[in-house]
């Protein structure tokens, strides 16, 4: 037993031909966030603090679909959502429909700690943010040129894009710098366990490109995108609608609890059996300090580390598979 941490930046049809200039900054971000998380665990911070910290870092990074860098709704607006859960107490917090809050995950945490509720959304959530004095900025802060392009592409193709979709261009090898139908961003999330077996999970996103205004995905839904109890902590990514109906995060824990599966087995089962191919990825840690990162998509931006020195940063399946 020892601490363990895993984080993701989204699962989807990430083309193996992904251009270096798009891949490198994202890998660097994963590396940086992993380090932040590992250092925090080494400094004995609680897993709840650690997951919030790591997700904040990912939210602040414009290359990932959360906080700054969030994808746009069909009206070109920002609507961010997030949730956080503490495995010990099963306390949780969730927010949706945020437009000005710099770190949605932190607002979710405040909902959990400062209100008798679990989930606040839209105007009510924004108002709460102001009451709490959490950092807010003009909505334009979150919008990146890449995402404006993505929305344009999606509208032209008249599609709602999941985290990662195949490029519109027939020639997959040719990657134009910005105009690419492939929404190469994803939800972000982090799970952590300390050496005492305390678990926590956090997930944050800007949602789907070209989504309807007011559309809520799996990310703020406890049991779908996020879940933690005293057995494990799970954060999922992919097609929100599929993750919701598959109650993905909860099911990993349920399989461990009711069917006695190991963390790895449970995660594999869920991504292989409970959700259609190409739709989901997840990271999970167990109370015993195990870690697993499973997905049924082409790839998933991910990173993990355990106390015994193992660490990994990857996008596609590792060669030894």
């Amino acid at each position: 037993m020892g601490w363990a941490i895993a984080l993701h930046g989204g699962a989807g049809d990430i083309p193996v031909s992904l251009a270096a200039e798009r891949r490198k900054p994202r890998e660097a971000a994963l590396r940086h966030c992993l380090k932040v998380g590992v250092n925090a665990l080494k400094a004995q911070k609680s897993p709840l603090d650690v997951v919030e910290l790591v997700v904040r870092e990912l939210e602040n990074n414009p290359h990932y679909n959360a906080g700054r860098g969030s994808v746009l709704t069909r009206e070109g607006t920002i609507e961010m959502e997030a949730s956080i859960m503490d495995g010990n107490t099963k306390r949780c917090g969730a927010v949706s429909g945020l437009t000005t809050v710099v770190n949605p995950i932190s607002l979710a945490r405040l909902v959990m700690e400062k209100t008798p509720h679990i989930y606040l959304a839209f105007d009510g959530a924004e108002r709460f943010a102001r009451e709490q004095g959490i950092e807010t900025v003009d909505s334009s802060h979150f919008i990146t040129q890449e995402n404006i392009e993505r929305l344009k592409q999606a509208k032209e193709a008249n599609r709602v894009q999941i985290d990662y979709t195949p490029p519109i261009q027939k020639d997959e090898k040719k990657e134009t710098p910005t105009a690419n139908g492939d929404s190469q961003l994803g939800t972000v999330g982090c799970v952590a366990v300390d050496s005492h077996g305390n678990l926590a999970s956090a997930t944050s996103t800007g949602g789907l490109v070209n989504k309807m205004v007011g559309r809520i995905g799996d990310t703020p839904i406890i049991g779908a995108g996020t879940y933690a109890n005293n057995l494990c902590a799970v954060s999922a990514t992919g097609k929100g609608e599929a993750i919701m109906r598959g109650t993905v995060a909860r099911d990993v824990a349920a399989l461990m609890e009711f069917k006695g599966l190991s963390l790895k087995e449970a995660a594999a089962y869920v991504v292989e059996e409970c959700v259609p191919r190409g739709n989901v990825g997840l990271v999970a840690v167990s109370a015993k300090g195990e870690v697993t990162m499973a997905y049924n998509t082409t790839g998933m931006f991910r990173a993990c580390a355990t106390e015994d020195g193992h660490s990994e940063i990857a996008i596609w399946p590792s060669v030894q598979n």
Partner: protein, 315 residues
């Protein structure tokens, strides 16, 4: 075994101070809606159609806290939410933050059937409603006023008038608490319906106006798939009670999960979940299984409910 079954609820956490005539009205309404569902089932309607129809009927009557009778949020507006799930394929639809839509459960169904998404909220949901069908929208001003008046009427009929203010006397008169709020806040409640049709397909739907005086923008368990509502090929579940307890316990999914992964029967699963998954929370639920069983469980003082099965059982 086999055959259809249906159960309805009008909320858990019944205020013991609820006057008898209110209890009678509640029973009458539940019976009427139950009968509606039974006729539909006898006419071979699918489970998903039946749950929508029944919950829609419950929403239309101002007695329970959903649709027309919805509780008022802190700023005086109504915020309704609902979800529906078709066990056959596990498709689902949910809505939150509705203020003018007449039947939230029907809008949830439209989200499921007619949109690329599963969950729409607030202005986005209202816009979608407008696009779908004019019928949905009540005359905004008239509707709202009517809702407010009716909700107010219900409030002052039997609720401790001190909701939101003078907590001392509220506590003195009604020591029962749920989730830190006086129980009067919770009555009347969420409504729900679960059905298994003669082909063994399960469905579930839940609808609510939420807590009295809740923070605006607060979303409870009713629209959350896995928490307030869940249906798969094994069963259909609808919950009511402390939203927060239901969410953290992923209650509706839990019933299905113990059946699926532990092989428990319906009643066993329901009992297990109520006993083991609620910790200090209070809630109740109704469930049906694909085999035609019906079950309910609650750890609150009471739960308005009714159920019936094809073989003649009725309660």
């Amino acid at each position: 075994m086999g055959g259809w079954a249906i159960a309805v609820h009008g909320g858990a956490g019944v205020d013991p101070n609820l006057p008898p005539h209110r209890q009678e009205e509640a029973k009458k309404l539940l019976t009427r809606c139950l009968n509606l569902g039974i006729s539909a089932l006898r006419s071979n309607h699918s489970a998903i159609d039946v749950v929508e129809q029944v919950v829609s009927e419950l929403e239309t009557d101002p007695l329970f806290n959903s649709g027309r009778g919805s509780a008022l949020a802190a700023n005086g507006t109504v915020e309704m939410e609902a979800s529906i799930m078709d066990g056959n394929g596990r498709r689902c639809g949910a809505v939150s933050g509705l203020t003018t839509v007449k039947n939230p459960v029907s809008l949830a169904r439209l989200v499921m059937d007619k949109s690329p998404h599963s969950y729409l909220a607030f202005s986005g949901a209202e816009d979608f409603a407008r696009q779908q069908n004019e019928y949905f929208i009540t005359e905004e001003n008239v509707g709202m006023l009517k809702l407010a008046k009716e909700a107010n009427t219900i409030v002052f009929d039997y609720r401790i008038p001190a909701v939101g203010s003078d907590t001392c006397s509220a506590v003195a008169e009604s020591p029962f608490q749920m989730n830190g709020l006086p129980i009067s806040v919770y009555a009347p409640e969420t409504v729900g319906c679960v059905v298994v049709d003669s082909q063994g397909r399960c469905a579930a739907a839940t609808s609510t106006g939420g807590l009295m005086n809740k923070m605006n923008g607060r979303i409870g368990d009713s629209p959350l798939i896995g928490a307030g509502t869940y249906a798969c090929n094994l069963c259909g579940v609808s919950c009511t009670g402390e939203g927060e307890a239901i969410i953290r316990g992923t209650l509706a999914r839990e019933v299905a999960a113990v059946m699926e992964y532990k092989g428990l029967g319906l009643q066993e699963a329901v009992d297990f979940v109520i006993k083991e998954r609620l910790d200090e929370g209070f809630a109740g639920l109704i469930a049906v299984s694909n085999k035609g069983d019906v079950a309910c469980g609650f750890n609150t003082t009471g739960m308005f409910r009714g159920c019936a099965t094809e073989d003649g059982f009725m309660e």
